[in-house]
């Protein structure tokens, strides 16, 4: 246990160090932009990892919560003139309520059936966002007013980077705290054996609901911030492919590893940028790398590499 606490502190320290150094080594605002997007994805992935990695419950519809976060922020600030922070909180409440309402019936399902149910849920949300043109602007999307915090609006990439970096660090810190609490152990327990966890006194349904809501809140926060940062959103951000991308980030980085979620998000956000100049080879390279990592490091990057490093 002591060893682990140190590892947690070391990891959080390293994360802080990387986040602090990054803006000084990145050559221009474009790189900062990629870092911000990676950071926002990472926040969503840390939440998703609580659900998939720790509790072992797959969700192929998580982009829906990201999308709802983004659209609630967009609609309330652009259409209703709400202050952005209030809109962001409203998005959290709405997403939390939605996740809570669907959690119990849906999380009774297991494995591929759960994958199907969450996938269906995500698609339904994406369809609503695309069809309700009057509210959401339809498939072509809608503009979002800038973020305002206590009368201050982040003027550019650097300020945004600061906000996202701080929130990312806090998100990781909360996730690591939860993981080593009795709740975190209960999640890992129900992941391994639901019946054994229940027999040990873990209210399985309640814990599944709890982690589902929590992961929805992470996605909602990331979505609201993304909407204000990008200044424009489309329903594609809530779609099936986006959900698959989030899951892929978590699995690629390493399941049940908070830092893995961050690394997975960073890599999958940066990779398309690296390959952007390959044009028709871009998709081939992306697919091949994804397969290669999962074949040779099936536990995901961070846990597999940590294991290799530990062996030496």
């Amino acid at each position: 246990m002591i060893r682990r606490r140190e590892a947690r502190r070391g990891g959080l320290g390293a994360l802080a160090a990387v986040l602090l150094v990054l803006p000084f080594v990145l050559p221009n605002t474009y790189y900062l932009n990629v870092a911000i997007l990676a950071g926002l994805n990472a926040i969503a992935c840390i939440g998703l990892n609580l659900l998939i990695g720790y509790a072992g419950q797959i969700s192929l519809g998580h982009a829906a919560f990201f999308g709802i976060g983004a659209y609630v922020s967009a609609i309330l600030t652009a259409g209703q003139g709400w202050p952005p922070v209030l809109a962001l909180l409203a998005a959290l409440v709405l997403n939390g309520a939605l996740a809570f309402a669907v959690a119990r019936p849906i999380l009774r399902l297991r494995g591929h059936y759960l994958a199907m149910a969450t996938l269906g849920l995500g698609i339904i949300v994406a369809i609503v966002l695309a069809q309700e043109v009057r509210l959401t602007g339809g498939p072509d999307g809608m503009p979002v007013p800038p973020l305002v915090l206590l009368g201050w609006s982040p003027p550019g990439e650097a300020a945004w980077y600061g906000i996202v970096a701080v929130l990312l660090w806090i998100a990781a810190w909360l996730s690591l705290n939860l993981a080593r609490s009795p709740i975190g152990r209960a999640l890992a327990a129900l992941n391994a054996s639901e019946i054994a966890a229940a027999t040990a006194g873990v209210d399985v349904a309640r814990h599944k609901s709890l982690v589902f809501v929590l992961s929805a809140l992470y996605a909602s926060l990331a979505g609201s911030l993304f909407a204000h940062y990008a200044g424009f959103i489309t329903p594609a951000k809530a779609g099936f492919l986006q959900s698959v991308e989030l899951v892929t980030m978590v699995v690629l980085g390493g399941m049940a590893s908070t830092f893995g979620a961050v690394v997975g998000a960073a890599i999958l956000t940066a990779l398309p940028q690296i390959f952007a100049t390959f044009h028709e080879y871009e998709t081939i390279a992306l697919g091949a790398i994804l397969m290669g990592i999962m074949i040779f490091l099936p536990r995901g990057l961070v846990p597999s590499l940590a294991r290799l490093a530990g062996r030496r």
């Binding site: 494995g111 369809i127 992306l286 999962m294 099936p298 536990r299």
Partner: protein, 291 residues
């Protein structure tokens, strides 16, 4: 009214038969390995695209189609041998990500080797619609429907009557026990991927005259096929067909009687309701977990 209803029904059956064919491919691989192959839609795409391009190069359809199917089978075998078998110890989710990677890779290859346009094939027996009580259905839809039924019968015979098929079932139930009984589970897995690719590609050839095809046609087909397979109960061949047809008919009725803008949402709501009521799909395996 009857005419309208019949037309919706025919539309549903046309779409449903297509979903059923794709769902059967999912079922086959799932039965042998409990892997959900997210590249299943790409097998369908390869079948369609390869046939189109061979036909464009002057090959007659009766030669182009088998060759295209053969190509898909080769891809299926390669996928199993190069990507799934080496990662046998990986978790289910990791395997899903591998197949997602494969689907991205295959799409990338298809747009490089072929192109990014949509293509079509001439219908096998003409375009003259068949009229029944004022509603109409294309002859090609009957080809697709017949193909699904034939596939179900063939699979039923394969799993129920042949030694090889029984070996597949045994492998699915308990790999270790199957190996102890002398079954080469390695080959069983490869065989299932090959068969699944064959089924998918055959479906691709049959449906292209109706739906057209393009390098990314597999995404939506894969999604709908997966939904159909789950709705019917993953692992059941009959369930795949029932799920496919039901999904198609619900979409058509939803579009016709409720709202065409929300027809996909209506279909997914139905799937959610079914899963909440019957957590293992309509015809999925029943029984309590043993502890």
């Amino acid at each position: 009214m009857l005419e309208t209803f019949l037309q919706f029904l025919f539309s549903g059956i046309t779409a449903g038969a297509i979903y059923a064919l794709v769902a059967l491919g999912f079922t086959l691989i799932y039965n042998a390995s409990h892997v959900i192959n997210f590249a299943q839609g790409e097998f369908v795409m390869i079948g369609g695209m390869a046939t189109v391009f061979l036909a464009d190069a002057g090959w007659p359809i009766w030669a182009a189609a088998p060759l295209a199917v053969l190509l898909a089978v080769a891809v299926g075998v390669a996928l199993e041998r190069l990507a799934i078998a080496p990662a046998r110890e990986a978790s289910t989710v990791s395997l899903i990500v591998i197949t997602i990677g494969a689907s991205i890779l295959l799409r990338g290859l298809a747009q490089l080797v072929w192109d990014r346009n949509f293509h079509t094939l001439a219908p096998f027996s003409g375009e003259e619609p068949i009229r029944v009580l004022g509603a109409s259905i294309l002859p090609q839809s009957l080809w697709v429907l017949g193909g699904s039924l034939l596939a179900v019968l063939a699979l039923g015979w394969f799993f129920g009557r042949t030694l090889l098929g029984k070996a597949v079932i045994a492998t699915a139930h308990n790999r270790l026990a199957a190996e102890l009984m002398g079954i080469e589970t390695r080959h069983v897995m490869t065989l299932c991927f090959a068969l699944s690719a064959l089924l998918g590609a055959l479906g691709g050839v049959l449906i292209t005259p109706i739906t057209l095809t393009s390098y990314d046609a597999g995404v939506m087909l894969g999604l709908k096929g997966f939904s159909a397979a789950i709705l019917g109960g993953m692992g059941s061949a009959t369930g795949a067909v029932v799920g496919g047809l039901l999904l198609g008919v619900v979409e058509a009725m939803g579009a016709g009687f409720l709202s065409s803008a929300y027809k996909d949402a209506i279909a997914f709501v139905l799937i959610l309701v079914v899963l909440v009521a019957v957590p293992r799909g309509l015809m999925g395996a029943r029984g309590a977990e043993r502890v």
